[in-house]
């Protein structure tokens, strides 16, 4: 909980429904400065670390790559390139376990590092970005592979391009960091506040100069102070404000933070740009500054390695692709055997089945929880409809109704009760007295609905293909018949024409024959020569 009182700002704040107060556990890891993790022996760099199309690999096994060299290019508009995070040799391009809730593997470039950490040639810094065409600056951000660092990993260049017909009034910078345990944004704000603000300045420029609101939960007084101090030094101070918001999970959810700071609600199934708002994480702002001002691609990020099973919890600046085991070793390893290793925070993170998975761009935390921290909730009991879940739900849903529908596989009703407005924050499951894994039910229901929609789409496509084929066959048949008919008619016409000429010839022949016969008769009646 917040130790020092935070000077409250004058700004009016709004609230959202529900939310929970939960031990923040930040003190475990927020005391020491961000340390740079050493270059690991091997880097495992997944080609898909973002929402959108997987990047297209540009290197081959055996190639030597340099730090910052692009090893996979963006494939399509909503995509992001991937860069080598240290120098070395590509020893494999193969499926490896990656940090993903499914626990499945994905295509990765495996680099054996050479320890030289030699940089590739980088593009010129764009310190004069304000004079450049925004498209050029966006292209740089895109080149650098910057994606949302708060967890969603949506390509930042795309998000900073809301289109000419959308006016952006407010740029919300998310420094709330509402998940317990995680402190990477906290440390980043304390230590690199001015860099973050430079990134904010660039993003503000690209969005046409909106008002900037930087939201930070009031359990991070040092970060608030550091950001306010840096803002006071910056020319942004006239257009930006650091706003301390009450600590309440999940205030750091994009929709929740926007609501708190502006009172506006992002429409269901919509995006913030529809209401004139763009929301970016502080880590993303930092990465944008690095890309534009230094020409540095996104090859490292701050990761909180924490949990009571870790000997020395702290924040590490880790190269993308560093295996989790290396980072845990960097924190003096385990103090006790963890009950589970979670990627992300305890409320929304997912358990890692494999400890060797690499850090990717959206991984903000590796959380090794002891049995005491994450006890087995035991078998789920019956829902008693107490409604605590509905009280806690920040989307104002009726979680227990969704649960009944998901359980009964009644997905139509689940959608009627707005299943897809669920942000999977876990508040409902945390307060459920029956210990029902509610979020798991919602994920299951969503997946089923997606699968069905895909199936429907496939069926629809198959139907269209079938109909097209039918139509084609019918057309061909018609054409064939038409051709046949034409041919027949032609033949008939020809035959007619031929038969016409033959009868004329016959008659002519007959006439000729008659003429000859007549001539003969005449000849016979006339005297002939001596015979």
């Amino acid at each position: 909980m917040a130790a020092n009182p935070v000077p409250s700002s004058e700004r009016r704040l709004w609230t959202f429904h529900g939310g929970i107060h939960i031990a923040d556990e930040k003190a475990l890891s927020n005391a020491s400065e961000i340390a740079v993790a050493p270059v690991p022996k091997q880097l495992v760099i997944p080609l898909q670390q973002h929402i959108g199309a997987s990047a297209r690999v540009l290197v081959a096994v055996g190639d030597r790559v340099l730090k910052g060299q692009c090893i996979a290019a963006a494939d399509g508009y909503v995509s992001a390139p991937v860069h080598a995070s240290s120098s070395g040799t590509v020893i494999a391009i193969e499926e490896r376990p990656v940090p993903h809730p499914s626990g499945l593997s994905a295509l990765c470039a495996v680099i054996e590092t050479d320890g030289e950490d030699a940089w590739a040639e980088l593009p010129e810094p764009m310190t004069h970005y304000a004079q450049l065409d925004p498209a050029e600056v966006r292209e740089r951000i895109r080149w650098a592979g910057v994606v949302g660092m708060g967890g969603a990993s949506f390509p930042t260049g795309v998000k900073l391009n809301p289109g000419p017909d959308r006016r952006i009034d407010t740029l919300v910078i998310n420094g709330a960091e509402c998940e317990p345990y995680i402190t990477c944004d906290d440390r980043l704000m304390r230590e690199r506040a001015s860099r973050i603000l430079e990134g904010v300045r660039i993003m503000r420029h690209l969005l046409g100069g909106p008002e900037v609101l930087i939201g930070i939960e009031d359990n991070k007084p040092e970060a608030i102070a550091a950001m306010r101090f840096a803002l006071g030094e910056s020319d942004l101070r006239a257009s930006a404000e650091v706003v301390a918001i009450p600590t309440l999970y999940p205030s750091g959810g994009e929709k929740q933070l926007i609501r708190i700071l502006t009172g506006k609600e992002v429409p269901s199934h919509g995006i913030p740009a529809q209401i004139g708002i763009v929301c970016q994480n502080v880590g993303t702002a930092h990465a944008v500054a690095e890309a534009v001002l230094d020409g540095r691609p996104l090859i490292s990020r701050v990761v909180t390695v924490t949990g009571r099973a870790i000997t020395a919890p702290r924040n590490l600046e880790a190269r993308i692709g560093t295996p989790a085991t290396d980072l845990i070793a960097c924190c003096d390893g385990y103090r006790e055997q963890p009950r589970k290793l979670v990627c992300g925070g305890p409320m929304m993170g997912f358990e890692l089945g494999e400890q060797g998975v690499p850090v990717t761009k959206p991984v903000n935390c590796l959380l090794a929880l002891t049995a005491a921290e994450a006890p087995d909730p035991g078998p789920a009991l019956a829902c008693i409809r107490c409604g605590r879940c509905a009280d806690a739900c920040p989307a104002n849903l009726l979680p227990q109704q969704l649960y009944w529908f998901a359980r009964a596989k009644d997905f139509d009703h689940a959608q009627d009760y707005n299943l897809f407005d669920c942000i999977e924050c876990g508040c409902c499951a945390q307060v459920c007295p029956s210990h029902i894994p509610l979020v798991q039910y919602y994920r299951y229901a969503k997946t089923e609905v997606w699968a069905r929609e895909q199936e429907k789409r496939k069926a629809e496509e198959a139907r269209q293909r079938h109909e097209a084929k039918q139509a084609r066959l019918e057309r061909q048949e018609r054409e064939r018949q038409a051709r046949m008919r034409q041919k027949k008619e032609a033949l008939a016409a020809k035959a007619k024409a031929e038969s016409g000429t033959s009868s004329e010839a016959k008659q002519a022949a007959i006439a000729a024959a008659r003429a000859r016969a007549a001539a003969k008769q005449q000849g016979a009646s006339e005297p002939t020569d001596g015979a």
Binding site: K340, L341, M348, P437, Q440
Partner: protein, 348 residues
């Protein structure tokens, strides 16, 4: 590391069903003690018998249904049902009626619908109504508070009355029983007496309700306040139910104070307080949306007043609760909250 990956959240859960039920049981203690003080040992004997019958019945059905027995018994919901039933029935009810009631509540009303969480009706109230309809005399033969009858029934006397329906020597039924305040009020009003006349002719009346009864209700109110303080229940149902009852009672009392008792009488004479904090708040059978709970509670309160005033029974909490149990899903459907990011209109 666990072999199967568990979905988030990965934090200790803060609530437990058995703790919720335990809070309810704790909150019932003052009321049960007050009842024991005024109505004798029979209250505790009934509570014990009912709990025993309920637990055995639940265990047997769970065995028949091939469901794990201990987790279901451990949630204490059967115990809560038993206690609520036991304090709703007369303290000298024959033991086999308690047995019948508990079989009805646990086997028919609860387990045959699928057990805790699936029952549409409040089991304790359904059992109460079942017995009231089947054995109206036994179910309305309330003991007079001991301070009125002056007869101090020992533990053995109470046990004998419950087990064998024998009274102690030299005591007859009329001496120990008395109409409940609600019953008395109703009977006398039917005799065309005015409230003032009714209150003058009997020692039954206390300041608000019946003597003794008002203290029992005060004790239940204390328990209800405890539940609110511990956030085991929210204010919506109790407040709206009492408001529904009080507003109608006040309206009619203002219109004609000689044929309608003082509004506080309605609160402190029957099962209104117990019903508002402990019975209508049963989460399984109540509405779940907050707006729905206001409607649900208000309708129960209003129904209680209507049945008490014009219906065929002196008290009506059980009937009112069961009636509104039927309406709960519909109320829930029409009172869905506005989901984040949706317009002002109802969710669908």
């Amino acid at each position: 590391m666990t072999s199967t990956l568990i979905s988030s959240p990965h934090v200790p859960r803060v609530n437990r069903v058995d703790r919720v039920m335990l809070q309810v049981l704790l909150a019932l203690v003052p009321g049960v003690l007050a009842m024991t003080w005024f109505f004798g040992w029979g209250v505790l004997v009934n509570v014990t018998l009912a709990v025993g019958f309920a637990v055995i019945a639940e265990a047997l059905v769970l065995l028949l249904r091939r469901r794990p027995v201990l987790p279901a018994l451990g949630d204490l919901s059967a115990v809560v049902t038993a206690v609520l039933f036991a304090i709703s029935v007369p303290p000298t009810l024959p033991w086999w009626m308690t047995l019948l009631g508990m079989l009805f509540a646990i086997v028919l009303v609860k387990q045959l619908y699928g057990g805790l969480g699936y029952n549409p009706f409040n089991p304790a109230m359904a059992a109460y109504v079942f017995l009231l309809v089947s054995y109206p005399v036994a179910m309305t033969s309330w003991l007079a508070p001991e301070l009125l009858s002056g007869i101090d029934l020992s533990f053995g006397d109470s046990l004998a009355m419950i087990l064998h329906q024998v009274l102690p020597a030299g005591v007859d039924w009329d001496a120990v029983t008395a109409a409940t305040p609600l019953d008395e009020m109703r009977t006398q009003l039917d005799e065309q007496l005015t409230i003032a006349e009714i209150r003058d002719q009997s020692a039954l009346w206390g300041v608000f309700g019946g003597r003794g009864w008002e203290w029992v209700n005060a004790a239940f109110l204390l328990g209800g306040a405890y539940l609110l303080w511990r956030r085991t229940i929210t204010w919506h149902i109790p407040v709206s139910m009492l408001a529904g009852l009080l507003s109608l009672a006040t309206l009619f009392w203002l219109i004609d104070p000689q044929t309608h008792p003082f509004p506080a009488f309605h609160l402190f004479s029957g099962a209104a307080i117990l019903g508002a904090f402990f019975i209508a708040t049963d989460p399984v059978t109540a509405t779940t949306t907050r707006r729905g709970q206001l409607i649900y509670g208000a309708c129960i309160g209003a129904t209680v007043f209507v049945i008490r005033t014009w219906g065929g029974y002196p008290d009506a909490v059980a009937f009112a609760v069961l009636l509104m149990n039927i309406a709960a899903p519909t109320i829930d459907y029409y009172t869905q909250p506005r989901v984040f990011g949706h317009g002002r209109e109802r969710a669908r």
